[in-house]
Symmetry: C2
Subunit: 455 residues, 2 copies
């Protein structure tokens, strides 16, 4: 059977997420991001379109590296202001039945015990439609909002993340047996003694007694998303992640990256089909190619390349360097070998070139502009030639981007057998993506705590 | 004008909140507490009834002091399992327009920066209908879930709480000016430079850089609830709280307690009308007294006094003492002078008497069983003689307790001018309770950070 496309609507509760300047379109709705009706409407649009999930990005700090100030970002609405994405999932769950949710949360600053209960709560409230996008946070300002002097080094963040997720697995999988809750009104037993246990975790970074407070939810472990291109990030992903949001890389590199993670995951006892790969994509569609091109050009008049540059300037201070040295040299001057090693930045460009190129780069690789047939042709190439499994659909306009895709692209992909024809009632997000579940397979590391083993 | 009753529906996302054993009634709905439809239905019942708010209790640990085990609580569904209440508010906000929400969150274990954004998010999503019930946590197991060996001493918890709330005030009131957000699409300015600032908090327990990530919400500071009877708790309440959930005390003591807090608040520059006092109340109503009494007796057959005793046994280990020593002696033997000083426990009873009496005690003081007229008579006495302003309605049955009150008591109270006849469209929770707002008055300590002053 031909590979079917996973479609996540890429969102963030802020005016300017990743298409900087586009909020300025007169009929764009992004300034309503803090109103509940924005989210209930968006969720219903996404569900009507048949999307797999709404993928919510998040940051817990301001972008304040560029020009050593958060004001350039503030003025543009560039990821500030923003509000909490977990709460939005609960609101959207109240008005939908099928669409899933991927929600970003960092392992670096908040206690795992509370997060374990929050995600379990969302898995209950959505009836198993929730995923977690695991991040370790990269903004220096975020560290300063949580009592630190500066960002924790990249590899240390992944060490913390490894213990953090271990605590979560113990709570989610190890603390309550499947048959723990009986809710027997006759006998008066809600949960069975002996079927629930403390986890008694004592580690380097965390001590957590337990028991987990939530009874088992449908998936127990939310579908595990991860976005990372670094060496430490790849090792973590190979071990834990189910859906990888991979970086937009030059031809060849993306395929090698996918193969490297998949191979590493197999070395760790998982199966090749246990991981899926999604990329950020821009899809501008209209009944005809001409209309689509006109729409795309119309959107582009609002673009803010400087906003994109500010967004990408977290690892270094571009304004402190001559425009004609390379990004690699600038990073070396700031002693950021870790950033060079992590990959993802165009090291060979000059700082000046980078400033002009970053906004284009977000569109360059996975960009489809055209009629429904043309867009579907392109997406088929992404699936079959580039080897991806799905996309995080970048929004140029709320809610037109989602509506256009739902009304024009989804029917064409379904005609070609490239997208599911309908939601399966009652399925969890994991079952939707993998065709099995709702729990993680036995070969996943989370499973080793089942029944209280290995605690 | 006669005083009008504040009515909050008292809830917790768990099978057994505070009417232990009652979940066993065949048609009680409490075992649905983890299903989103329980909460959307409850919220609609509460709104149809005209309640001011749904007040959500919470704990972040298990009751494990009694018999040194969490299993007696576990078996009974006594506040375990439970799920996260903030997420429920977001879900309920999606299906209501008017009813408010009071949500419990502890100042002891989680970072203030994240909580500031979460509550701001809820204030946005509810359009100003949210309140925060400030607690410092009293369960030893909660401390162990968050990396500590044991509970932090009571007075230290209040020291932490004082700095915690100061950080919140700086973020909520001081970081963004009223006119910071312009969302000017023509010019391309979302927020005005100079109108948003870091808070640069450096204290004993917290360091928080800022700026706050959320733009100003309608109330900015959620309506501040507090439940505490201890000396440190009273000082904190007099300084900060707007609605006090006061302990169920013997006649005379309640009135003295209210007067003491109010006097202390006035000494701190607030006005007598800046604080409101609510008590937990049991109201069982039916068209006739006979039917109401029969209903009450029917409920009582499901009562679980041992569950109530387990619930109240957090400060000491009752099973380790002879049944014939007093509660005071038992506490002294465990070195818990702090608990004796805090008040709230019946020190003169023997441990054996206490075990039998605690469940009755929850009903004893503010109990009304009867016809709508009889119940309304009783409630008028609570308002006029006891001096309270409102109740947290204890649920014997979901959703009958709320429906009965809404259908039978509310119309009678409205006839007597003792309850508002309707919601005022668009009002915030603070405006509903105080008739002014939506922001805190200038004399409240939160106001001193406005415009970035005193940061």
């Amino acid at each position: 059977m031909a590979k079917q496309l996973i479609v996540n609507l890429f969102e963030m509760a802020t005016p300017g997420h990743i298409t900087h300047g586009l909020w300025r379109q007169p009929d764009n709705q992004r300034e309503r991001y803090a109103d509940i009706s924005y989210w209930t409407e968006l969720a219903q649009v996404a569900e009507a379109a048949g999307f797999d999930a709404i993928f919510l990005a998040d940051v817990v700090g301001a972008y304040d590296v560029y020009d050593d100030s958060f004001e350039p970002a503030l003025e543009r609405g560039l990821q500030i202001p923003n509000i909490d994405p977990l709460l939005l999932v609960a609101a959207m769950a109240a008005v939908t039945e099928h669409v899933g949710f991927g929600v970003t949360f960092s392992t670096t600053y908040e206690p795992p015990f509370a997060f374990a209960r929050r995600m379990a709560t969302l898995d209950h409230l959505t009836r198993g439609r929730v995923g977690w996008n695991i991040v370790t946070s990269y903004l220096p300002n975020a560290a300063r909002n949580f009592g630190l002097d500066d960002q924790i080094p990249h590899d240390t963040r992944y060490e913390i993340a490894a213990e953090y997720i271990d605590v979560l697995y113990k709570l989610w999988e190890g603390s309550w047996d499947d048959d723990a809750v009986v809710a027997d009104k006759e006998v008066g037993t809600y949960s069975r003694v002996g079927a629930v246990r403390a986890i008694d975790h004592v580690g380097t970074h965390f001590r957590v007694k337990g028991p987990h407070l939530s009874e088992p939810s449908r998936q127990r472990v939310p579908l595990l998303f991860q976005a990372s291109a670094s060496k430490a990030g790849i090792a973590f992903a190979a071990q834990h992640a189910e859906v990888l949001f991979t970086a937009d890389r030059p031809p060849g590199a993306l395929e090698r990256n996918i193969a490297a993670i998949r191979d590493e995951s197999v070395r760790r006892g998982r199966l090749p089909e246990d991981t899926r790969y999604v990329v950020m994509a821009t899809v501008i569609v209209a009944p005809t190619e001409e209309e689509a091109r006109a729409k795309y050009e119309g959107y582009r008049t609002f673009r803010d390349p400087e906003g994109a540059f500010i967004h990408m300037s977290v690892p270094f201070h571009p304004l402190q360097h001559p425009a004609d040295i390379t990004v690699r040299e600038a990073l070396e001057r700031e002693g950021r070998q870790d950033v060079i090693d992590a990959g993802g930045l165009p090291l060979h460009l000059t700082v000046g070139q980078f400033a002009g190129a970053v906004d284009e780069a977000w569109d360059s690789r996975f960009l489809a502009v055209g009629s429904p047939e043309q867009v579907a042709d392109t997406i088929e190439r992404w699936l079959d030639v580039d080897g991806i499994d799905g996309i995080n659909l970048r929004q140029y306009h709320s809610f037109d981007t989602a509506r256009d895709f739902g009304e024009l692209v989804v029917p064409e992909l379904r005609r070609r057998g490239r997208m599911r024809v309908a939601y399966t009632p009652g399925e969890t997000l994991r079952e939707r993506i993998f065709g099995e579940g709702p729990r993680l397979p036995e070969r996943h590391p989370a499973a080793r705590y089942r029944g209280g083993a290995n605690l």
